[in-house]
Symmetry: C2
Subunit: 429 residues, 2 copies
């Protein structure tokens, strides 16, 4: 094959602030996937993109080129409309677990391809794997079958889906080129569009525990992704939501599965229930389903029913006891007053240090490890009250978790609560 | 060995416009040389440096770290002061060939470590290799012996000299990170300082045939390098000189050796003689030599004498006939008038296309190929007059050389000559 470009000229163009042309973008993604463009060339280009930016046309073309690097899934065999949700990740964000069966119970088909955690944010697959027997890896045929039988499936993305993104994602991680809105947006959207959903709801987290701490930046990311969805013919909406405080009362794999099951049983923490219902309504509406109330599906047990079938279909035992950590340690209040803030990032890092997360790809995680919260901002606290319970299988991990939790919670008598509203912004094309 | 930093944090610091600290710079250069920092990480950092810059302290430390990655040569065994010249490269720039023996004839010791050509600029070693039998690769002991016996040596830099720079240079070439003044300055100066010279004269070329086309940028590069030399205790001066028009009347390996020998014999084109003498005076003065006139050393044959001994010491036969190309083709004037300009870049590319240069490292070059000029800007031209002779061993190369030469020369009756002064600027610490 004769290559139409040289990598150096494409890198130099972006370095010198020119727009990349459509053929340049198509070629560089294809050539990188084929190994013709080397990692050291792509990382130089990624840094130039991070610093000099890409415009809407470039981002859209870049996304498409990544989609075209692999297969695009097809759900035309299904008799229901597809809808999917993607969260940019946060601490205690277990919403996918109750949401996917809930939307399925309302008549949607939810092909939820998920990832594993890295760093302080958890991964949906790590959480689901806390369920004894449950397996994440499905063939495309198995995935379709679970989706047909249950209406929802949560599983790992196959290697055939946007392989360019997989290679780029690993490269960005080691070259400090993660924090670029064009690259984040195209990475997320290429996978989601290749996944073949016809409706997509994006949950863009903002605040200390989120990847995009700044709500303004989170809003730009949300609008960029909604535009990419529109360009690809996918009905896409985004909510920018709070991640300054952890979601719900748990951060950790089995702990979050337990909380999700509480929500499916009609209970659970109010913020988790509220966000789950909001996202469910968005998905249902975007999928064109009318006359279904997700709140009813939580109350009448139909969402729980889908969950149990979905877990069983992937080898999990929905009645099995969830793993518990070997060791627990409580953290109590050293003063009294109103809890005015709780730093999501510190809780996330503590859960990670307790063994719930990994530092390197491929590392094992502890199913039972994590942080359980007993109070949230806004509550009145008495001195000595239990604020958190830390869980781990290795007691030597407690000290470093306690260390990071220093200053995590502010308690001020009569103080004003400092936190973002749950929904910061809603973005529609 | 426990690494004190992670590559990602160093890259992120420069990406976010922070200054790199001394320990960060020392570590990243050392870790890259040791293979702990990968090419794809270094290229992302290089792009961040290219786009966000480095200040004087960072450039100085970066240069030092590259020097410390290898050996630093020592000439204390010599009974004469060392002086060296470096040119940033241009078309027809053969000055090193007459200059090194000339300065030796005036009492200096010239340890001239040189490189090969890439693209449209020639390399000193490629030129010298046109001399039958001459070899570029010497051990450190051989180099010292030639220097002691002849007062000058022109040879390839050994692998032990600034190995970090060698790795970085190859990486920059394929990642579009060449055009950065901090990276160019540190690359040149790390090699020259490690080479152990006590006086250094830099010839920074500017104009169409130079790497730094813009005289302002060339001046910044010159001042940056002079400062680096001063920081390292090397007496350093720089001349910014014209490269809008080729130097002398030849561009090509054997052609340039022939012209250099003419200069050593007391003849040769006036611009080559003038620049050679200017640089020789700078080197002699910077080395602290007094009472020597390089013009005399050209006239009385003492510089030629050093040349012949130096060529012989490296296996070359100073009396052997120089290679001639198999084919020649003349280019003649299609109109009459004053020649007001000649584009050095076009002449350089023509010589390259005729076989004098290489497109990839390791490619062979033709000794006899190149461009011979019969007129220069300022001369009155008659229609049909011979302007150039093209030389190559492969006649099929003529057409692409002629193609690039279109528009190379402007002839305007009574026109005003457009060219830079030979010396644009002189920079001293």
């Amino acid at each position: 094959m004769i290559e139409p470009f040289a990598a150096v000229e494409v890198i130099a163009a972006k370095r010198d602030r020119y727009e990349l042309t459509d053929p340049q973008i198509d070629w560089i993604i294809s050539a990188y996937t084929r190994g013709v463009v080397a990692d050291e060339q792509m990382s130089a280009l990624l840094m130039a993109i991070l610093l000099n930016g890409m415009n809407a046309r470039e981002i859209s073309r870049w996304t498409n080129a990544m989609i075209n690097s692999g297969e695009r899934m097809q759900w035309s065999a299904l008799d229901r409309p597809t809808a999917d949700k993607h969260s940019t990740g946060g601490v205690g964000d277990k919403i996918t677990l109750p949401l996917a069966p809930l939307v399925a119970a309302c008549g949607g088909a939810v092909p939820q391809l998920s990832g594993r955690g890295l760093g302080h944010t958890g991964g949906t697959l790590d959480k689901m794997e806390a369920i004894p027997g449950w397996r994440a890896e499905l063939s495309n045929e198995e995935m379709l079958k679970v989706l047909q039988d249950c209406g929802a499936v949560i599983c790992a993305a196959g290697a055939g889906l946007a392989p360019a993104d997989k290679k780029l994602y690993a490269l960005r991680d080691v070259t400090a080129t993660v924090e670029s809105i064009p690259l984040i947006a195209s990475s997320i959207m290429s996978k989601k569009i290749a996944e073949g959903t016809s409706a997509l709801i994006l949950d863009v987290k903002t605040g200390s525990g989120a990847f995009m701490r700044d709500p303004v930046q989170a809003g730009i990311l949300a609008r960029t992704m909604v535009q990419l969805g529109k360009d690809a013919g996918v009905t896409t909406r985004a909510l920018v939501t709070a991640m300054d405080v952890p979601l719900g009362l748990t951060a950790g794999n089995a702990l979050e599965v337990r909380e999700s099951i509480e929500v499916l049983a009609g209970g659970g923490p109010s913020d988790v229930v509220e966000l789950t219902l909001l996202l469910a309504r968005e998905m249902i509406e975007a999928a064109g389903i009318v006359g279904k109330d997700p709140e009813t599906a939580l109350k009448d047990g139909s969402a729980m029913d889908v969950w149990r079938r979905m877990v069983s279909a992937q080898g999990g035992d929905p009645d099995a006891a969830l793993p518990m950590s070997k060791f627990q340690q409580d953290i109590t209040a050293t003063s009294a007053g109103r809890m005015i803030s709780m730093d999501a990032m510190k809780v996330g890092v503590a859960a990670w240090r307790l063994g719930a997360g990994r530092s390197r790809q491929g590392e094992k995680v502890q199913a039972g490890a994590g942080v359980e919260l007993h109070a949230k901002p806004g509550e009145e606290i008495v001195r000595g009250q239990k604020l958190m319970t830390l869980h781990t299988d290795e007691s030597e991990r407690f000290s470093r978790a306690v260390e990071i939790l220093d200053g995590c919670i502010e308690i001020v008598p009569g103080g004003q609560v400092k936190r973002l509203p749950l929904i910061v912004e809603r973005v529609e094309a």
